[in-house]
Symmetry: D2
Subunit: 320 residues, 4 copies
């Protein structure tokens, strides 16, 4: 391949810029030309792109968000949309595309690949909810941002002998909530993957800790569970501890990328270009037991992820 | 005076610990004994206190919250409560008290002073809503924490061409919202002190900026205004810009104290002890045009604060 | 005036970008055209400038450093250099210039003003060493960055029962060192403005604290004193406490601007444009007891700054 | 086992407290008693320890450093010292010890195990230089702290068109330097594990980048190489780019533990107690391809670590 495109799609994740940079720079090492496509598949269909230079990606490795912007495209989710995208690629001479995003983005990459434009996916979502890979870019930054914010809540909770009930992002997945919950020593962690009973898994645990003179508490609730306002009221009613609900919200998306996200994005970006350079498409770059590998997109999308129950048990044992 | 008490009361504010430390240390320089009273006036009534040593306040200057804890006391707000407090003071030999908190706390200090226990107030609240002083401990940290969080939101808003509508604390006051709004370059800032019209002051401003190719926006709303969810819907409806509401919440209370808060608390703490050492009570320590002074509590509570309209205009002029 | 220039000069300071933004935006409100001059007076002489637009200064308020770059110019420090600068201004139609920097930069502004190009200075240096103003942009950020770093050192010092001897920036001035020293609870603070005796002001203070069971220490040394390696050795030799010297260095320049720096820069930037709009030059914008005012540059450069000895005493009293 | 001891030894590392907490809490789950031994093997020999309670480890998971303090002990490094330690253990009823530290600490654990007190090591050092494990507690925090500081330097380097030459910790290992170097987009990274030629690997790379209009540079040098002052001078001499050397120093030790360090410490702490509970000693807990396992201490100490040359090449390819 001589010319490739690159786009970011779906929710933004810290580290996407580091991945864009790695793709551009390693494509240049291999003598390729790179088009930066703005606002994901929508930009592809609208031919909203620019030829990137070596210095286009200078001083972005430390920036959250995505310099290529991102958007959702309804139009692309149709055979006509895909056909339009293929046409634009032909016109521009784009022979392959690196798609940085989550599973929705990979479905687009699969369709484009099937239509003759080989695509390689790089997993990037703060939710870490992709079954095909141990890691998705943005997860480490988001969990650290969430944890830093709950560390702030701890201070005021402690001063007032209160309980903070905090909703952490993650869509239908509880990975972000679990890591954050362990990191802040949460007395209870509620995630969609583990059945729970509020009386047993929250109220009893708080009451038990109260007996050992603990007077302030943190309860972490995954976005997929929600209901932090009701839960706060219920905890107060059952324990007498004043509660304050907090929904951390989009702040969690915005962190300065951590080292893990910058390095992982760099490694995955280089790997993706290596595949396209060999003409290989329809692959997702993955982390598999600390090794960078790649797998078929169809297979990747069909996999189901197992929740780390053992880690969840660690949290329960030591946060008392 | 040979023996004084110290308590923190009302909402916690970063820098309270630095004030406690300064009070203890400067009392020691003057040969005084200090009782640390836990959980504000409630602890005073319950005789929940301990004699502090030089090292009791080591390694707390950098900690948010309050090592003396804080609480609201209904009981103290009655002549019987105050009488009880006086009795405890006599029993313990406490001749004066330093009260760190906001206007509610100062009303208690006024009542105690009137009942024979001279009190000196140190203003500490993240809202900076006390008329008697240019500065209240905790304000600088809170406004920096709020700004850092909106900086995070900016990143994701920009990637998605969105508008972030953010509620900032401050109870009935807009100082925190104004400082944060200027610092993040908010297109609109709504505060209780300034009348507003959403169409003119938010929608028109956004539309005008859109014409100059601005695609992402930040709107800051003071807690005293609220309604960020409705406002988000309205902005989307009128401008077509996707909006995300965020309520920053108690995270704003928890920051590591900034230098301004640590230094201001140190200066005010020393000044408060200087007053008690001379037997002077019923005073509030204040910052008046960068000078540390003190004024009568009755007077302090009667003052009304003027909003800095000129600064508000600066914000409007340059955030376009 | 219809057209003005803006430049940043001398050492960079966090908040310079916020000042540039305020100048550009308030000039636009007044219908002026603005040239952004790159790399200070050197860029002016080389005619290295560009016409700024409303959006040129978008998304920079939160960035440290200066988007206009900065440099020192030997050539400008001569009558020929100034004449060249005046010629370029005439050619470009530049009728006045806003100069953001420290005293060296203001000397240039004075010379240019005297040669017919009215200049207004905005004080920006992390050292806060200008006599004419209570505040210089960048100081708040730098003192918070320095404090955060010494907070990190405290953690490891405490774990090892060590003494950290830390050099803080400030050139010949001790303001940064004093604020940092108070904020970290330094057992000793050495600044050029206060005579000291190492045995009395460092060793004795450490030994006295050791008797009260303090086992880890922080000593802050202003850049103007230096010698942290020798001082470390000496402390170890005299007290038996293991010491670690650290020179914080240029890291202190790079912080994300704090709210104080962003707001102060916004206010000063607007004030500077207000002056030029009225055709007034040869002035420095200053903070005088929390009010923004302006004074004559000649006078400003002739003033001498007094060190806050009272604050220094506060530090000595409470850090024991 | 009914009673165990726990100590931290060698250089402090962020996350040590999280490990202590996990050990205490999971020992309690298993009905064990835990002695907290102060200042490592030195405290063991001096019988400086205290019985820990459930709440002894509250609110420490977010703190860097070690609540048990750390120190080096010359006396313990002798058969007599070990014998003394064994005697103290017998007296106290300590049947096993968890040792948190680096390879020096593990040699002590090996000797104690051989003398009849089964020990389990938990790897904790910011250098990540232990061959037996993919991860040592503290590494993630340290590399993020180092990166944040170089991010600050980048800002000022860029404003002045300078080159920052930065020494990063790591003793004889280059892991911290490599991760930091990739994360900051360093033009050159010098580590002890890879042979280098300054002209080819630093000067030529900078000159090549200058041709593509890059004007500011970062060079990362591992502690094991050092010489940043000389290197700075040499770069200036050869390229004309102004250089500023910085030695980050002990600040790198002090960070608030990241999520990875808190979670890894929690997992390793639980695993260590699980081993002692079964009477198993002379083991080191390790991370092996994202799995927590354990290996023989003798074997662990005999292993040699391989440097990730492929990752080093990634750095060279994309930082241009």
């Amino acid at each position: 391949m001589k010319t490739i495109g690159i786009l970011t799609s779906g929710g933004d994740a810290p580290g996407m810029n580091a991945a864009v940079r790695a793709v551009v720079r390693s494509a240049f090492v291999k003598g390729m030309k790179v088009f930066g496509i703005r606002r994901g598949y929508q930009g592809l269909i609208k031919d909203d792109m620019f030829e990137m230079e070596l210095r286009s990606v200078s001083d972005i490795i430390q920036c959250g968000g995505t310099m290529l912007y991102t958007a959702r495209s309804v139009e692309f989710n149709s055979p006509e949309g895909v056909a339009k995208a293929v046409k634009i690629c032909k016109k521009r001479g784009i022979e392959g595309i690196v798609v940085i995003g989550g599973d929705g983005s990979f479905r687009g990459a699969r369709d484009l690949s099937a239509s003759g434009i080989p695509c390689v996916g790089i997993p990037a979502t703060i939710d870490n909810d992709l079954a095909c890979t141990d890691y998705t870019i943005g997860f480490d930054t988001a969990m650290n941002t969430a944890t830093q914010m709950v560390d702030l809540l701890r201070v005021t909770s402690e001063s007032h002998d209160r309980c903070s009930v905090v909703e952490v992002m993650g869509r239908r997945a509880g990975y972000l909530a679990l890591q954050t919950g362990i990191s802040v020593g949460a007395t209870a962690i509620l995630v969609p993957e583990v059945e729970y009973n509020v009386d047993k898994d929250v109220i009893s645990r708080i009451k038990k800790s109260m007996k050992t003179n603990k007077r302030h508490f943190i309860v972490i609730v995954a976005e997929g569970i929600g209901m932090v306002n009701d839960l706060s009221d219920y905890i107060y009613q059952k324990t007498g501890i004043e509660c304050r609900p907090t929904i951390l919200g989009h702040v969690q998306r915005g962190g300065v990328p951590t080292v893990t996200d910058r390095v992982m994005a760099s490694r995955m970006g280089c790997h993706a270009v290596g595949l396209l350079a060999k003409g290989i498409g329809n692959r997702v770059v993955v982390l598999d037991h600390s090794q960078i590998k790649d797998i078929d997109i169809f297979e990747a999308l069909a996999m189901t992820k197992e929740f780390d129950k053992k880690l969840y048990q660690v949290a329960r044992d030591i946060s008392v």
